[in-house]
Symmetry: C2
Subunit: 502 residues, 2 copies
């Protein structure tokens, strides 16, 4: 049995944490990535690749054998909520199979994850230098070093005592949901939306109620859906701005409408603002700045804005003008959670404190550098988003064919292009089942991976079948090459010409 | 109201994350640290300092006002389990009050936390240099970079695919408990024991059942208590070796007896081995090396062994010879949890991979340095533990008085001295209530903090009233000074001489 190293550098082995079970095929791995299949390159087998993404919510505990009832361990079962809480993006990217098209062997292009560093975009030099200079080796205070909290607070216009530091924005999200929602509570989440919202809800026994974002309404949340979905169990609404996966940047008017609706409905706003500095077509407006009555937990990180996702530093800022989060115990709950998790790496806190503090000195060179990092990032991402939009709009049309995708809404921020397969694309490419009402994007991206060695994420990850998300942090060359391969593949399916690598 | 900066560098403010509520005294802070008290230096007020530690288990949600029932937010309540999950060590050390004895103003000596860096012990230079040289800025694979997992695996004699990396040993503990125990399950934990075990159980709705470690039985777990406590809900037993707070290092024979009992009772062993390299009086034996039948989750970190608690890198190693953790879904649950938490800082992973990998080259200079770091650490900690034992044995006797503590068991590892107040100590010092059956160590450590500016942790933190834990990472000078102050204080209470600072 060979042991391929996948794109994430994770070695795939039987019974390993990588989640791939080869030696014990009776425990079907839910991604199915390396499970033996009768016809590995058929579209049906390929679509099994991403089968978890579109599956029904709930536990997959049935996949695990019950231990021999005579064993003293017969009562041992992993908790259902933990087994149900799969993170589809990670499940896919941690265990990518090898493309079958040998022309592209070892040349996989990933458009899957919003990791700028994978495309050669690296953190500002002043930040890495600050890390080299810091000597903080001891335990940080549970909510973070005061200087780092103060620097982050100044950066996002909050009070120091309202900021607590977390291990990335993922932990900020988890703490926020845990502090607000008991088992049996519910939270409104956007659809399409970042899948971790729903994963965390499942993990903590919280019901995730999806509210729609319609492309035709400019991805403005459907506030009537909020009103319809809210009941006595509903405690919060998640709003992501700039939007993942939509790339939409909300206007002040839109945000004010959301804040007012939240206040009227008694919802705390979880404002996922992890892409706050990466709004390139319209200014970013913080939710907390427009919310007069609704309490806001504003979540952020250096991961995206400073090209440093691996540093794992994020934050929660509490905006609680009316004292609602204080009175309800949410603030204390957040503190308790921090006293268990103990904060992000002290060294990173030292570096971030230094970087932001220096950058806050008006007229300093550090300020100039920090501003130029953000300006460069916005300009780079805007260019790449435009290139991706152009390629996607033309995709499939080279030999006179029909476009693969509907014309996308041009992203105004973040690092993704959100695409909808044009109706009939799968049928015309003979992918998926013939009677699918919605185009089977899972089959589509599986085929693109196998035949073109290009990784895109299926919309089902974001609760939106028929769609595809591509990361636009890839270089323009990589984007060109990816769409060129797709063009060749479409041509070969139509029988236009023999398939040939560029 | 002044805003003192406490020992952890956390500024104490009203309604802040620091957990201290001054402006709204109706929400009594559970540590009471800055709450106005009628007689701030009386022993009763002082003992309120640590009141959370010895309190009954359960939520303190009653402390939070219900929001006006006409408010749309009336239904908002922080989850009871999160409010109940206080971490007493952190709650105390994050919000220490200022000592009242002005002789020691700004000269507080903390013997509270096992943080070597606070006593000037810093990580090996090769580790900090490796951090400066690494350039890993991107997201790590969910279970950690393969080279770091491999290096850790070689270090602890496990298989690479069985190791997953976590943000410190605290997260390793949380993931381990979550992967095994559903709500309503129970876990056996040692008493005295590290309080995070119980905090995490409360957080996840798991019943923590305490089993005793008796000083007279050399802190060997009472296996008959295991048999008595286990029922159909019990899935695991936590064993801490080298022991916190006891300083005991278990022998191979003792560990084998524990492993056999766990196997017989159908318990997974959570082996907290975070002090594995710091066994100075007897060799450390890994639980996994003696457990033939019981599955073991071995938990570790660089925090203590490499003097790098702020780096936040720990691990879980799965030892599952019979496939029980695989079959029960625990392995998959661990993977799911990692795919949500996304692992420790990438840069730290790069540095640790380099440090351990280099140190594993036989005969290399790196190996020599790594071995000498551990040898130095053991010799330093052994010396400090011996000094602390000597001081504690003599404490209170200088003017012909009775000893404050019972003669302690000399620590064989870890970084703590576990002391029991000699019967009658509080009465003779006129501390606490006169009718206390057990000496009120909470009152004792509160007085020591106020009068001597020395921080010790009350045994109630470790579910053992009448005891005191002191960290032995402090320098011998600091230990001398701390016990000198205590001696002066005892003398002044007895009226021997006017109190005078050294």
């Amino acid at each position: 049995m060979s042991r391929p190293e996948n794109a994430s550098g994770v070695r795939l082995r039987a019974n390993s944490f990588d989640g791939v079970s080869v030696a014990r095929p009776r425990f079907t791995d839910f991604t199915g990535a390396l499970a033996p299949t009768p016809a590995p390159s058929s579209s049906i087998a390929a679509s099994a690749l991403f089968s978890s993404a579109g599956g029904p919510p709930g536990g997959n505990e049935a996949e695990y054998n019950v231990i021999d009832e005579k064993s003293p361990y017969a009562r041992l079962r992993a908790p259902i909520n933990v087994l149900a809480a799969t993170n589809p993006i990670r499940a896919i990217t941690d265990a990518l199979p090898t493309p079958t098209n040998e022309m592209y062997a070892h040349k996989t292009i990933s458009l899957a994850v919003g990791d700028p560093t994978a495309a050669g975009l690296t953190p500002p030099e002043k930040l890495t230098r600050a890390l080299r200079d810091t000597e903080r080796h001891g335990y940080p205070p549970s909510v973070g070093h005061t200087d780092c909290r103060a620097a982050v607070a100044a950066h996002i216009n909050a009070n120091t005592e309202d900021v607590m530091l977390t291990a990335g924005c993922s932990q900020a999200l988890e703490h926020a949901i845990r502090s607000l929602a008991s088992q049996g509570s519910s939270v409104l989440i956007p659809s399409p939306g970042f899948p971790l919202y729903e994963t965390l809800c499942k993990l903590h026994g919280v019901q995730a109620k999806r509210y729609p974002l319609h492309a035709l309404q400019n991805f403005m949340p459907d506030l009537n859906a909020w009103r319809r979905l809210v009941d006595d169990t509903t405690v919060a609404v998640v709003v992501c701005n700039p939007g993942n996966p939509t790339g939409h940047v909300s206007t002040r008017t839109e945000l004010t409408q959301m804040a007012n609706a939240a206040a009227e409905l008694g919802l705390v706003v979880l404002a996922d603002e992890v892409y706050s500095s990466l709004a390139f077509a319209r200014p970013f407006v913080p939710m907390a700045s427009v919310s007069e009555r609704a309490p806001v937990l504003s979540l952020g990180a250096i991961s995206k804005n400073l090209y440093a996702p691996g540093w794992r530093l994020g934050w929660i800022a509490v905006h609680d003008r009316a004292g609602i989060l204080e009175m309800s115990g949410v603030r204390r709950a957040l503190l308790n959670l921090c006293q268990v998790s103990l904060g992000p790496c002290s060294l990173v806190q030292g570096a971030v404190a230094r970087y932001f503090t220096d950058a806050q000195v008006a007229g300093s060179e550090a300020q100039r550098c920090a501003e130029s990092h953000i300006a460069d990032a916005c300009s780079t991402l805007a260019k790449r988003a435009a290139a991706a939009s152009r390629h996607a709009t033309e995709a499939g049309t080279a030999g006179g064919g029909a476009p693969l995708f509907e014309p996308p809404a041009p992203p105004a921020g973040a690092m993704y292009l959100w695409l909808r397969l044009a109706p009939g694309t799968c049928r015309s490419l003979k992918i998926g089942k013939d009677d699918d009402a919605v185009d089977d994007e899972v089959a589509f991206v599986s085929e693109v991976l196998r035949e073109c060695a290009v990784v895109m994420l299926p919309g089902s990850c974001f609760s939106a079948p028929g769609h595809v998300r591509i990361s636009t942090v890839a270089s323009e060359d990589a984007l060109s090459e990816a769409f060129h391969r797709i063009e060749l593949w479409c041509a070969s399916l139509r029988g236009d010409a023999p398939m040939d690598a560029a």
